[in-house]
């Protein structure tokens, strides 16, 4: 049962991922990404990571895709929906293969520990996030803050010139 579900979800994830790069329409690409991300949430569910699955739906399925669509609609692409720029595909290929190599290597090196089919209590998750993993957590939020300030600065300089 769980293997059937896993294979089904994996296929949906891959189809969504291929859809993102194969379609010529930017909005369709965003929607394929949504399908792929929601299928990943399903994979989290069968791995008993309910919290992670809901975070995936909230952050990626909801907020990030909406902001993506917002940005696409603001760039007036609804008037030219079929334009897409594929000149950067070699760089994209290198990045994708590199990421795959890093992930595969980390999977080989790390000991695969069996956690057991049990969803961790929310309190334990919060404790480890704010004690043991506090520094990576704060660094991640710092990265987001830097991105936010950078976006404001870019927008502001454009305003001054225009």
């Amino acid at each position: 049962m769980s293997w059937v579900l896993f294979i089904l979800l994996a296929v949906v994830t891959l189809v969504g991922g291929v859809g993102v790069v194969a379609t010529r329409n930017v909005v369709h690409a965003a929607l394929s990404l949504l399908v792929s991300l929601l299928a990943v949430a399903g994979i989290y569910l069968i791995l008993f990571a309910e919290f992670l699955a809901l975070v995936q739906v909230l952050i990626y399925g909801g907020a990030i895709i909406i902001v993506l669509l917002f940005a696409i609609m603001l760039t007036r692409s609804s008037e030219y929906p079929r334009i897409s720029d594929n000149r950067q595909w070699p760089i994209g290929l290198v990045a994708a293969v590199g990421l795959l190599a890093v992930l595969a290597a980390s999977f080989w090196i790390s000991q695969h520990q069996s956690a057991g089919p049990e969803s961790p209590a929310l309190g334990n998750l919060a404790n480890s996030l704010f004690t043991r993993w506090a520094i990576p957590f704060e660094v991640a939020s710092l990265v987001l803050l830097v991105a936010l300030i950078g976006a404001i600065i870019i927008a502001r300089t454009g305003e001054d010139e225009g």
Partner: protein, 391 residues
């Protein structure tokens, strides 16, 4: 090296045929019940708005116009379903489905009484509701884009900006409530409110949650993305007939959900005197409809905001207030202070913000009076000068 991921063992995923039948029956009952509730709400809204505007509201169809929503529904379903030629057909079709499915999915875990719930999610009920509420926004954005209409696209953009902004205070206040209850289980949150409902501990939280919740479902003071007088209905401009009624259904379901969440999180849910056991559900609906009446009252009273006012209000008032709510809840929990201290801190925040808003509202009028006074002064001074030169 073990390459097999730890998938859920089969015995946990396998549900028996009987369970499956029960879930399907439960979902059907929920669907029917919520649809009837929407009809009641439509009738109530037309009647209450009518009274607020010194009209009678519907009177002709059935006693007191009770059959009016049924007649409306029949009319909407029979109307021709027009699909614009330039639209993206698939997106145009899927957008209302996304909106209404997420509106129904929220209700799976909202309890009306300890037993009146399809599936109470033990550890994550509240978080599930928040997560699926966000997905509905996507449908509005897609509806705006898919209908190939400039007003639709504008409405979609407005919906994305407004709903994402107001999602933040809603989530933050919900976090404060989860901190107080030490749980995200809806039943547990209601059980924790047995001596004092959280409205007494966190009045600021209630105000922020209710206002941001109204903005979340796009009720009238906040219906910027529909704004008939500006962008003729926003994302819904090209929709007609059954498709449009699906959006309508979702909007009423979401209003009902916000009222139910307000009751569950701040007014002690189904707990009340005189009734016990599953009769508690009567208290739940009494409270929910009281909140819904307040929502109609607000709709009948306030004019629509401007988009810049709306966004400024979200980021400059609601978001800081929601963070303040979390901070005072944390202080209260950490130092184990008596409950009234939290009430005091919460009310203090409310008063400070009310004063600032009062100053901002009366500010322009005061400035006009100031300028008038100065002009008057200058005029009298000039006059006096002329009189001094004249002789």
């Amino acid at each position: 090296m073990n390459f097999q991921p730890d998938l859920a063992p089969p015995q946990l995923l396998a549900i028996s045929a009987l369970d499956f039948v029960w879930i399907v029956v439960g979902l059907l009952v929920m669907f029917t019940f919520l649809s009837v509730m929407v009809l009641v709400q439509v009738w109530l809204e037309r009647k209450v708005l009518g009274r607020l505007q010194r009209r009678l509201g519907p009177t002709r169809t059935g006693p007191m116009g009770l059959m009016q929503p049924v007649a409306d529904a029949v009319k909407l379903i029979l109307k021709e379903d027009i699909i614009p030629a330039e639209s993206e057909k698939a997106i145009f079709w899927i957008a209302p489905v996304i909106v209404v499915v997420s509106a129904f999915m929220i209700w799976v875990t909202i309890p009306g009484s300890p037993d009146a719930v399809i599936q109470n999610l033990e550890s994550l009920g509240l978080f599930y509701i928040i997560a699926f509420a966000v997905v509905g926004i996507l449908g509005l954005v897609l509806a705006g884009w898919g209908s190939a209409n400039k007003y639709g696209t504008l409405g979609g953009l407005r919906a994305a900006a407004q709903l994402i902004s107001y999602e933040i205070p809603v989530i933050m206040v919900v976090i404060a409530v989860a901190m107080l209850a030490q749980s995200m289980n809806m039943k547990e949150i209601v059980a924790q409110q047995s001596p004092y409902p959280y409205v007494l501990l966190q009045p600021l939280g209630l105000v922020v949650f209710f206002i941001a919740g109204l903005a979340e479902v796009g009720r009238t003071p906040f219906d910027i993305y529909l704004a008939e007088s500006e962008i003729v209905g926003g994302p819904f401009v090209e929709y007609s007939g059954a498709h449009w009624s699906v959006f309508f259904l979702a909007e009423y379901l979401n209003t009902f959900a916000i009222a139910a969440l307000t009751v569950l999180l701040f007014f002690g849910g189904w707990s009340g005197p005189f009734l016990s056991g599953n009769w508690d559900i009567i208290w739940f609906f009494a409270k929910v409809y009281a909140v819904i009446l307040v929502i109609f009252w607000i709709r009948g009273t306030f004019p629509r905001l401007r988009i810049d006012q709306l966004m400024a209000f979200a980021w400059k008032v609601m978001v800081p207030l929601s963070f303040y709510t979390i901070v005072i809840t944390g202080i209260y929990m950490f130092y184990n202070w008596p409950p009234w201290t939290l009430t005091l801190m919460s009310v203090a925040g409310l008063v400070v913000v009310a004063y600032i808003i009062y100053r901002r509202l009366t500010g322009p009028a005061n400035r006009v009076a100031e300028i008038r006074a100065r002009q008057e002064e200058q005029r009298t001074a000039r006059q006096r000068g002329r009189e001094a030169v004249a002789p």
